[in-house]
Symmetry: C2
Subunit: 503 residues, 2 copies
């Protein structure tokens, strides 16, 4: 094995850390290669071994993709039940990650996320379920432009089609009409188009929260009630093709409880399969659909194959109780969308959605965005992307800035007494008591979450202090312990031991 | 017995139905008449007998009050353990009720209220806990003026003082300072002043929801941890003095669960005592204090001595679940007050309070108002009355008008398909499908709950119809089956079988 490295040293392919190595092989095209050909490769760096599966890409082409996670020379050898594909060996060099590549997102310290290189990551997600399905290049480019100009760094998107989609379509399986759909054969064109969009998202720094199943088919395409073998084959194909993209998350199902063909045990099984097959252990969750105030119907997120809580609920104040229930990050992917749909999930005002973001984040959760203005040119952003019309996007950019200016673990910092972000919502007190220890000197700012203004209050506060407020809704208070750099200036007298005034 | 009537026929005192008959007697003033003298009277009309207790009013004066509930000649005879007060007999004539007097409010058809004469009553309550305690006549008059100009027809008010009140005060018991308070002797002056204000409220058509206990004393006056005998004596005195006012309701305790000296069993006992002693069976409830999302900590309103559910909770959407849980009227007496207090219970915006009223009422509940602008001249309305500064009062008057224009049982009418009030809250759909039966012809209006506008949509709708909406928050739809009087006009073509437009 040593020889391989020495022999190929000068011409080894280079792949950056968390980049994608891809091996292309030729093999049989007869029969159904998707189901009949088994292919995988064993990648090894020192004692570390990773064995991703390969996939059939049509026309006798097979590929094995691999995302290396540590720099150095990786060697590989393929295995297959097909002799043409078996025993191919080689190596490549994994180099350091380039700028902007921080690796996959992982859970950090129970309730937070971070990229694998330790860089902070706070999801500000949006939702465009089927933006890659219509085959409209111009619309897809427009969606990417909208995303590029937005604060969003995660997008929820589906692979399977919905009932109301009409051909011509790009579908996961071959066939354009329900009666001709072959659920045993994948459509490489669909995936190639999808992958091009995944590349676009990667370039924009946007995580792709891929929704593998959903209940919106109602038997039309027959993809919501496939047999166990087809479900498993689909999941493994997705992992083989898409798992090497570092920014992929697995959302096993959207509104899983609305799919009457599958039980909770089915979802357990498919989640476990995903956990077992994914060499990279991408983030993994499942998203509930049931109605408000039935939070007991949330999936049991304490199950070990779940990495984070992907919640649909319209009451962000419950974030605290979900944190207390399960020590995993809270992502409220659906909290109702800004828009004017006739449906309850898609017609809240921008003011209300911004409010829910602040409420959820100040309680230690992450909230997801969506837009559904059904009377606009491109109809619902959540379905097909296009333009964003809502009032909340710029406010969410402001919120993101505020959150990024604060400590990574903002609730932890509050407990430690170094930082606090208090959100008043639709409450409008004219003063607020900050009850910090006697010796604590701190700065206070009033944040107008809707008008996107930060107003620092003059001077330094110390100990228990009364802070006067403008007495209108949608304000927050940011309290920060005076830092060393502040203290570099001649320390001002703590002027606010008995109360400050908002300018 | 016949003789009494004949003999006194020409000079019998007249008291209107649900008015107040009062018998004044002289008796002993030595000792402690409040505790030592027992006095009651047996009032009889034909076979109907009612036996209210009397009370000591100081200076050797004793009174027995009685509210007759049916017209005719009522005879009475007193009983007492004191010979001077025992055996007084007489009669009076109960006449028909005068205009504006509809009797006490009763529960009607499980979830509704009505006056005893059958006149509709929908509580639009407000809260001025201690407006009669400060001894400031000018402020009390101002409070009455504010009430007269408001839509409120119920007021929550306390009898016992709070910890932070300073003398000079009018207190229920004798003594002006905690150390001199004698909890075995009532203060007739306090009650006489209170009664004058009860008369004022009666004149204004405002029900007096009297809060007998509360937890805001914290041992200061010693009235939140009295012994069982003193509690009972206090309740019986209140019933004897105040029960004959037809507009009195008994709210046994405010935020009862914040009083750590008493258990749920104590409240059961005191509620049962009230039920046993009150000859008129005024409305009876108890009001919880515990925090949001612990709705399980609400008092068990299914207990038979409870007439209606007096709730503190900030989520009006739960109205539906409370209705499902217990078939008694829902009165959300505290849903957070409009204002700018630093406390969460008293600082929501007017917009938010109006929203909560609409949300609660459209779900079949009644919501209570309060105001707490702490930087205004008279400080919090909820404590001491005075002026109203908020933005919501005129909107609540508008809501009251809308509700009064609708059927008494608006949820029942919805089920019957004759009326529907749909509130969209912070949702802003641009259309809404009304799914009425094919043969139903109906009128639709768009209601702007904040701007207080009712916009009728042109024409008649029929069957399942799509109604276009302006797509902004805080709208409601009012749908009314076309009535006979509408039909008197030449019937217009049903123009909206396929959709209407909001002007």
């Amino acid at each position: 094995m040593e020889d391989v490295g020495r022999h190929m040293k000068l011409k080894l392919q280079e792949v950056e850390r968390w980049g994608r190595f891809e091996l292309t092989l030729s093999g049989p095209s007869e029969g159904n290669p998707f189901r009949e050909v088994r292919l995988s490769a064993r990648f090894q760096y020192r004692n570390r071994i990773v064995e991703p599966e390969g996939f059939y890409d049509g026309d006798g082409t097979y590929r094995i993709r691999f995302m290396p996670d540590c720099p150095g020379v990786w060697r590989y050898v393929t295995s297959s039940n097909c002799s043409e594909l078996d025993g191919h060996a080689g190596a490549f060099v994994c180099t350091e990650a380039q700028e902007g590549n921080h690796g996959p997102v992982r859970v950090k310290e129970r309730y937070l996320f971070a990229y694998e290189d330790g860089t902070r990551y706070m999801p500000f997600g949006t939702t465009c379920y089927h933006w890659t399905h219509g085959g409209d290049e111009r619309l897809e480019e427009q969606t990417l432009e909208s995303l590029a100009a937005s604060p969003f760094n995660k997008i929820r998107m589906c692979l399977l089609p919905t009932q109301d989609m009409k051909p011509p379509l790009q579908l996961v399986f071959t066939g354009e009409y329900p009666e001709e759909l072959d659920r045993t054969r994948f459509n490489p064109d669909f995936f190639r188009r999808l992958e091009r969009r995944l590349e676009d998202l990667l370039r924009l720094g946007i995580e792709a929260d891929l929704v593998l199943f959903h209940p919106y088919d109602k038997g039309f395409w027959g993809v919501d009630n496939m047999d166990a073998e087809s479900d498993a084959s689909y999941i493994r194909y997705c992992i083989a093709r898409l798992g090497a993209y570092r920014h992929v998350w697995w959302s096993l199902c959207n509104e899983y409880d609305f799919n009457k063909f599958k039980t909770a045990a089915d979802w357990d099984r498919l989640l476990q399969l995903t956990q077992r097959c994914d060499p990279y252990q991408h983030l993994r969750s499942i998203h509930n659909g049931t109605k408000m105030y039935k939070s007991s119907s949330l999936y049991d997120f304490s199950k070990p194959w779940i990495t984070h809580q992907s919640i649909q609920h319209w009451d962000a104040e419950l974030t605290t109780s979900w944190r207390n229930a399960v020590a995993k990050p809270i992502v409220i992917d659906e909290i109702s969308y800004e828009g004017n749909s006739s449906r309850r999930w898609g017609n809240i005002s921008g003011e209300e959605l911004v409010h829910r973001f602040w409420e959820g984040m100040s309680r230690g959760g992450f909230v997801g965005h969506g837009e559904s203005f059904i009377d606009k040119e491109t109809r619902a952003w959540i379905s097909s992307g296009g333009k964003l019309y809502g009032e909340c996007v710029e406010r969410l950019a402001f919120l993101r800035r505020i959150m990024e200016e604060g400590p990574e673990d903002w609730l932890g910092a509050r407990s430690a007494g170094t930082y606090s972000l208090l959100y008043f919502g639709r409450r409008q007190p004219v003063f607020h008591w900050i009850d910090w220890p006697e010796q604590a000197a701190y700065r206070v700012e009033v944040i107008d979450t809707w008008n996107m203004q930060v107003t620092p209050l003059a001077g330094v506060f110390q100990g228990r202090s009364k802070v006067e407020l403008p007495g209108r809704p949608y304000l927050a208070l940011r309290v920060r312990l005076e830092t060393e750099s502040d203290a570099g200036h001649p320390r001002e007298q703590a002027v606010h031991a008995e109360g400050g005034r908002c300018g």
